[in-house]
Symmetry: C2
Subunit: 118 residues, 2 copies
DNA sequence: TCTATGATTCGATATATATAGAAATATCGA
DNA sequence: TCGATATTTCTATATATATCGAATCATAGA
């Protein structure tokens, strides 16, 4: 992950509603959750939610998928994995051996992303 | 680390100047760097730098220490460690075994902080 | 105490972000 | 095609953040 992407991801998560939203999507797994369902659970007006979903999507942290009338949003585990890798590499001094890797969930979600992230 | 602290840390790092600043401090080690030195290296006006240092300090990511006329700022490895732990725990599904821990640098910088951070 | 230096705080301004109602768009089922 | 539902986009507004010159504060040395 490059610096601009890392900044985008950090900024996307640095907000209460979005952090809670992302955490919820993470627990939901790859199938994700519909926008309406999210709005209800988080008690956020639809238009506000849409704004936050857009922020997360633009940062590459969530993906969108339509199912009938519903739009399902799911956590992009690879992006979070990449962010963790970036932070770990830039926080632990130069030659330190820090083990980041979110491998279980990463493998669950998308095994191919792992190479690009680091 | 709790959610509000995590949000503060994420927000503090979600800015180009501050991310670069923090990365620089990380490479500097526990001794840190004087404000003037930072300002020169990052080519940022003193007042602007002061603002960013305040943001990072308030988020607990850096510490301040006076040496004569100079104020030295150093990376707080424990805070970054805590952030990584928080993100890892909230990104990797529920029961996944993700190893975050920035232990080498944490030990290098301040072995006592480890208990408070997590 | 006076002056120079290092750094912050103040103040003003520009820009970005967050909130949310209203209108528009997309899809489904009848 | 029409109405109902799901969701977004538009629009306005409030709030927060970023920038940086000028003024202020803190320390050291003469």
């Amino acid at each position: 992950m490059e610096e601009p992407q890392a900044i985008a991801a950090l900024g996307a998560l640095a907000q209460e509603t979005r952090l809670q939203l992302f955490r919820m999507l993470v627990t939901c797994g790859p199938d994700g959750m519909s926008a309406g369902n999210i709005a209800e659970r988080l008690a956020v007006p639809p238009s506000s939610l849409s704004f936050h979903l857009q922020q997360l999507t633009h940062a590459g942290l969530v993906t969108q998928r339509r199912l009938g009338r519903n739009l399902f949003y799911a956590a992009e585990y690879g992006a979070m994995n990449g962010l963790l890798a970036y932070l770990t590499e830039n926080c632990c001094g130069q030659g330190a051996s820090c083990a980041p890797s979110c491998s279980p969930a990463d493998a669950l979600a998308r095994p191919s992303t792992k190479t690009t992230a680091a």
